[in-house]
């Protein structure tokens, strides 16, 4: 890459005169820089509420995989800022690694916790607004946003042998999270939303009696609906 750049500069210096003479491109033409598209914003967010439902998955836990449903409700203070609360409900199933470790061959049950639910809220920043075109016919407008959240996540120790009581196996953990998402604006105020968010929680584990940090990296896809001005 660097070699090409140096070679290019050398050649340019040798041929600069002829380049200048052969460079009439910008004379007498309508340049792209002279044209702007000042388009009415087709999908306004400011002062709008947004609520919806997403299906999610927490696939990166070492011992469980948790499908989840997330309900969201938020309000856009401006085109680039919004607050939102999320309530997630799911269930973490043992994954293959857990089952292998739990098998007679190993007999070593890890102290894993499964996702049950979470309530978080926070702010979103969406500095990027763009659009894509499909075959030059359909144009989709979208934004990219960055959510920052805090809240509570409730999980439960997977191993029932630690404590037979459902409630005593619960781990209620303060949570903070951050991520990235995209809204693809459809028709009639509907929005397709994709979001990846990493929630980090400080969890007390009943089995070992220790505090530990845990990450739930979730992938969410769903629909939201924009409502009228509040």
């Amino acid at each position: 890459m660097n070699i090409k750049k140096i070679l290019g500069i050398t050649l340019a210096s040798l041929t600069s005169l002829s380049v200048a003479a052969q460079d009439p491109i910008d004379i007498g033409t309508l340049r792209n820089e002279e044209i702007q598209v000042v388009q009415r914003r087709l999908y306004e967010k400011a002062d709008m509420t947004e609520m919806g439902i997403q299906l999610g998955m927490l696939p990166f836990d070492p011992y469980t995989v948790a499908p989840k449903v997330q309900l969201t409700y938020g309000h856009h203070d401006s085109e680039s800022r919004a607050w939102e609360i999320q309530m997630g409900i799911g269930y973490g199933f043992r994954n293959q690694a857990y089952r292998t470790l739990d098998s007679p061959a190993y007999g070593k049950v890890p102290e894993a916790t499964r996702y049950l639910m979470s309530i978080t809220g926070g702010y979103q920043f969406s500095p990027i607004y763009g659009k894509v075109s499909l075959n030059g016919e359909r144009v989709f407008h979208h934004d990219i946003y960055f959510p920052v959240v805090a809240g509570v996540t409730i999980e439960q120790t997977v191993d029932e042998h630690i404590n037979s009581s459902f409630s005593e196996r619960l781990a209620i953990a303060p949570t903070i999270g951050a991520g990235i998402g995209a809204r693809v604006f459809l028709h009639d105020n509907r929005v397709l939303r994709l979001e990846v968010r990493d929630d980090v929680m400080l969890q007390y584990r009943a089995g070992s009696g220790t505090w530990a940090l845990k990450q739930n990296l979730g992938v969410h896809v769903g629909l939201t609906v924009f409502g009228g001005n509040q």
């Binding site: 033409t29 792209n32 144009v139």
Partner: protein, 505 residues
């Protein structure tokens, strides 16, 4: 038999008394009995429920010149019977004939208006009422008649008569908003642009249909343009909704207003819509030339030359194809080709807008309805009924095809002539551009550098809060149509003057 005998006696008595006592009194004294006798066959057939025979009886009366005083009633009843027989076009033609009798049967007015709506043949009544606007009727019927009459006179170019007729449509009539709209158009066509504003604004205020309101806005823009108030014209052209079928036309006319304000950038920005591939089936040769002239006035000679080449490459084949088509096609061919929206001979671009005209679509629907009814009446057993309506329907059908075909030929011939002129003009413009461009470069060669461009005011690109600014990268996006802003920098040297009438520097 007895009825016929008594009719003869009564008629004989009437003639005798007419000599001595006056025909009117005789007709009144004998009309009921005469009527009953004349329409006896019809009454009997109707009582039997035999509609075809009833219609046949009426046709017999109509064909008998000696019964001319009953022709009006017979035609009215024939219209009703045709309607009952499922022949709305036949009914319309009968009602129309009833209204053209020496003493028009005013009871046929509302029925004729309804039938014309059903078969979408408005031209028949326009012509009829156009020549007889004073016919009796209810206030509502008189308003409708006046409206149709005004339309007929407008299409014939009788502008003053049109204005007079429009004045009799009362403010509470359903046709009043469109009457005001037409009044504004007529006044504008008479060059009374300022006078045309009030009726157009009245029409706008009374309309509730967005498509009609868009049309009024275009016409308001045209009136302001005609009055030389280009800024206000731009405002009204800009009010036409982006989704309107009239939007592209409004953008084109708005571009002219910008051009007249010496705002070449504004004109070029609007013309970008017409240049986009999304509208490459629309016929806007003038838009390309307006774009070319704007670039020329900014001394963007290579770009102007490129546009001219593009124009010639695009429109020369269209010109040739249109010329051949007009030579080879009859008026009827033109009508069916354009109204059907499919033609091998005609280039699509030149007739696509005509195809979408409500007037042409109405005529096509009327012709199709006439064809359906011709097939229907050919299948009926009563030969007099079949013969009568087949003749009437074929005649009206051919009349519509001929009239609309001739109109289309007129429009397309006008386009051909204009296109021919434009192609010739571009040849001249190309030479002008070449001359000026050569002079520009000769000076640059002499001075050793390009002469500094004349400083001109540059507009500040203003992005309203609810708008988004996208860079233009040479691609056209469907959602960006109508949102182009051009801030073209004039490249005219200080010492060079370039105008539409290319001036010497």
């Amino acid at each position: 038999m007895s009825a016929t005998t008594s009719t003869t006696i009564i008629t004989g008595l009437g003639l005798w008394l007419g000599v001595f006592g006056g025909a009117t009194a005789i007709a009144q004294s004998n009309s009921d009995e005469q009527w009953a006798a004349t329409f006896a066959d019809y009454d009997i057939s109707m009582a039997r429920g035999d509609l075809q025979r009833a219609a046949g009886a009426l046709i017999e009366i109509i064909g008998d010149e000696s019964l001319s005083e009953f022709h009006g009633d017979a035609l009215l009843n024939l219209g009703n019977t045709a309607s009952d027989l499922g022949l709305p076009y036949g009914a319309l033609l009968s009602y129309s004939d009833a209204l053209t009798q020496e003493e028009p049967v005013t009871a046929a007015i509302s029925k004729a208006l309804t039938a014309s709506e059903d078969v979408r043949d408005f031209g028949l009544l326009q012509g009829l009422f156009g020549e007889n606007v004073g016919m009796d009727g209810t206030p509502s019927e008189r308003s409708q008649m006046a409206w149709l009459s005004a339309l007929d006179n407008f299409r014939k170019g009788n502008l003053s008569v049109t204005l007079g007729i429009l004045a009799i449509i009362p403010t509470d009539a359903a046709a009043y908003p469109k009457a005001q709209h037409l009044k504004g158009i007529v006044l504008a066509q008479q060059g009374r642009y300022t006078d045309s504003l009030a009726p157009l604004m009245t029409a706008f205020a009374m309309m509730d249909n967005q498509s009609d309101m868009d049309l009024v806005n275009i016409n308001l823009g045209r009136s302001y343009f005609g009055a030389g108030n280009f800024a206000r014209a731009i405002e009204y052209f800009a009010l036409v909704e982006r989704g309107s079928p009239h939007w592209l036309e409004a953008q084109f006319e708005r571009a002219w207003a910008h051009f007249r304000l010496d705002d070449m950038s504004g004109a070029i920005g609007l013309m970008l819509n017409h240049m986009s591939p999304f509208f490459d089936t629309r016929y806007y040769p003038e838009a390309e030339l307006l774009d070319t002239y704007s670039l020329f006035l900014l001394c963007k000679f290579p770009a102007a030359t490129e546009r001219i080449e593009h124009f010639r490459d695009n429109y020369r084949p269209i010109h040739d194809a249109l010329e051949n088509a007009l030579e080879g096609m009859s008026d009827a061919d033109l009508f069916f080709a354009v109204s059907g929206g499919a033609s091998q001979e005609l280039p699509t671009r030149v007739y696509l807008d005509l195809y979408g005209e409500p007037r042409l679509q109405d005529s096509a629907a009327a012709v199709a309805q006439a064809d359906v009814e011709i097939e229907t009446v050919r299948g009926v057993s009563d030969s007099s009924l079949s013969g009568h309506f087949t003749t009437l329907l074929e005649s009206r059908r051919d009349e519509i095809v001929a009239a609309e075909g001739a109109r289309l030929r007129g429009v397309l011939s006008g386009r051909l002539e204009a296109l021919n002129n434009m192609l010739t003009d571009t040849e001249m413009a190309r030479l002008d551009i070449l001359r000026l461009e050569t002079r520009l470069y000769e000076r640059a060669a002499g001075a050793g550098e390009m002469e500094e461009a004349r400083r001109s005011a540059q507009r500040q690109l203003r992005v309203p809060p609810d708008h988004q600014n996208w860079p233009f990268q040479g691609e056209f996006w469907a959602d960006e149509l109508g949102y182009f802003r051009v801030n073209a920098i004039s490249e005219c040297p200080t010492s060079m003057q370039v105008g539409l009438e290319v001036a010497e520097d």
